[in-house]
Symmetry: none
Subunit: 211 residues, 4 copies
DNA sequence: AATGAATGAGGATTCATTCAT
DNA sequence: TATGAATGAATCCTCATTCAT
């Protein structure tokens, strides 16, 4: 015979725990973004989260576990954003895809920064939390290009290369923001950039000799 | 000057010291590339270089000093390669620029991998050893675009954006190699890629409606 | 005394508290026996007792206090068993003494295992909770021997040595059970062993040349 | 082409390392004997050995490794002492066996104390470093008894029980010394005790009714 | 110049205990 | 009373760096 409130209480407690976990993740993310995972100490994180160092271990099993949790989180945000984008119908859809991608970076700047830094040397993070998602986007763009190549709208470029080119352009623009060397995009800027990238992809920068 | 041979002896000694420094740097580079700077230990490096751990300190003041030396080295290689490329005369020159850039990555893969990883979190490395060089390339490309925009050959794109787009495409193709997920380029592949990137930049992927 | 029931209530509460204490002690004993005192954590004990870790501290002042409580308990059980055995009248009494001792080990195997382990390094435990009781038995046996030596039934052996020999034989048989390397005794085995030990003590293993 | 002294130098260095290892083991043994393995800290050991805490780790891989080294050492001393004692020819041989066993305890008191304490809870230590050796002695005694039982010199006692009895008596006498509650044996005392134990085993304490 | 040895300054993690509810 | 949460104080261990030879 349990108290009728038990469920509510449990969920209230769960929420409290979740909130605390989020706070710690946020703090850890800030620290990781500043010094990188390896140079960050659990003490740094605890101080940033304003809790005792040992309290960390009530919420996460290890320092690495915190990193993984950040990776998972970012992955989930990504998935939520991209689950509907099944196929790119037209140019506008491609632009929107890029805008969405920029959104994630803008919103979760520090998370992503940490993730990218660690993925660079850590194969598990790279494989499971970064590559998996990049592949999603890459495949969408590849399909987009393959489509148009076979219908004769595009020149017979290698779709893989095209996709990489788009992602690369995207990266070239996003990385300075991620790295902290440029201000995050305003929504208008974001839209403009997505447009420009697609423009270059489609038509290049050269003036059409005729048209 | 006690002895007429002093200079020669000194320089012979200098050469020996320089050679040893290079060996240590090479060893360190391999280790850094494997585990990242922070996770690499001086013991790892010494073992790889087949010397005693303390001997490192006869050649470098600290672990960080080794990293900086690697950064300097890579920067110098870069500069040697790019010092003549003062202005990009034509399309071929741009292609060659990209090929040269890919060259460096191919040749000094490990150096670059380490450098990028560290630059991601270390502002000094970033500023002095990475940004400086990227800026060189960026400016060359920007000038190239500005030129053509003002002479009406290119649409009025923002030159900065164009430069970034090129560097991004380049990055998108080079990063998987750097990260170790793809095999380094063969010279033929390299040339092809450079061509393709410039093609996309100039004309995009869309079929010309008329020509 | 506000209420006539107060005493009863108090004693009912006391009993509840006592019961809980016993449960905790039993749980702690099991854990200590498995990992030893130092390696056992309060969390282990709380889990085994199926209570919250902090609840332990409503019943015991510290982890060490739990150990002491176990030691006391075991001591009391011992005393209850040996209080009547004031003097050893005859051979049968000696056999019974040993059987009783084996009884305690059999019944409170885990308690004893822990106790012995801790007594080995902890002087307080050793002095107050182990030595005291061993001395009781030793003195009984010594008196038994002294008696018979002075009445000429025994050779003039040193009674202390004899007592030690008996206790040692006893230990040699009991220790593997305590340590968990042999199964506990059945009542029949127990009786047999006690007989054998006394036999050896009295007559050794050598065949009497005449009798 | 190495220096002719290389071997000597190597062995001198080896000896130095061995000496240091011994010093550390001795220090650790003292500490373990005082507080037990679990309660002893690496800092305690380092202080006792008068070296820095981290220096320990140049000689041993872990705290547990130190314990194992102690166990090995003690085992080897034992083996050296008992390797010749192949079969017990006669009563004198049995006495000598016991004397030798007491020797080990006397010489390496702290080592043994530590070992026994840890064997009580640690199965690996128990199995590989204690049981193995005890078994050696036990089998020797068992064979001794079996022999005499079959030749009719001994009553038909169970040899296993007899062996245990002897080892138990031995333990009963040795344990207080090990535990630090009694002074170590003088050589004379040692001989006397071994004699007495064998006497009791053979003839018990009871006066022969006839002889 | 080269190095084996030594170590101080941490670093991640554990745990007995306290405290607010 | 019971307990989840929090934590300070260790604990084992690592590592960049120094030093004596």
């Amino acid at each position: 015979m349990q108290n009728p409130d038990d469920n509510q209480i449990a969920s209230r407690r769960d929420r409290r725990i979740q909130r605390k976990r989020q706070e710690i993740l946020a703090a850890a993310t800030r620290i990781f973004a500043q010094k990188g995972y390896a140079a960050a100490t659990t003490k740094d994180i605890a101080n940033e989260a304003d809790i005792g160092e040992s309290t960390l271990y009530s919420y996460f099993a290890s320092k690495r576990d915190i990193l993984i949790a950040i990776a998972k989180e970012t992955g989930e945000v990504f998935d939520r954003k991209f689950q509907e984008a099944r196929g790119l119908e037209n140019r506008a859809a491609l632009v929107e895809l890029l805008e969405n991608a920029m959104d994630i970076f803008t919103e979760r700047l520090d998370f992503t920064r940490t993730l990218v830094a660690e993925a660079w040397i850590d194969d598990e993070i790279f494989e499971n939390y970064v590559m998996l998602r990049l592949k999603t986007i890459e495949l969408l763009i590849e399909a987009f290009i393959t489509d148009r190549v076979s219908s004769g709208v595009f020149r017979p470029v290698e779709p893989g290369l095209g996709a990489r080119a788009v992602m690369g352009m995207f990266a070239g623009i996003v990385i300075p923001v991620l790295r902290g060397n440029e201000a995050p995009f305003t929504p208008e800027k974001r839209h403009q950039i997505a447009q420009d990238v697609v423009d270059v992809l489609l038509d290049g920068v050269r003036v059409r000799h005729s048209d």
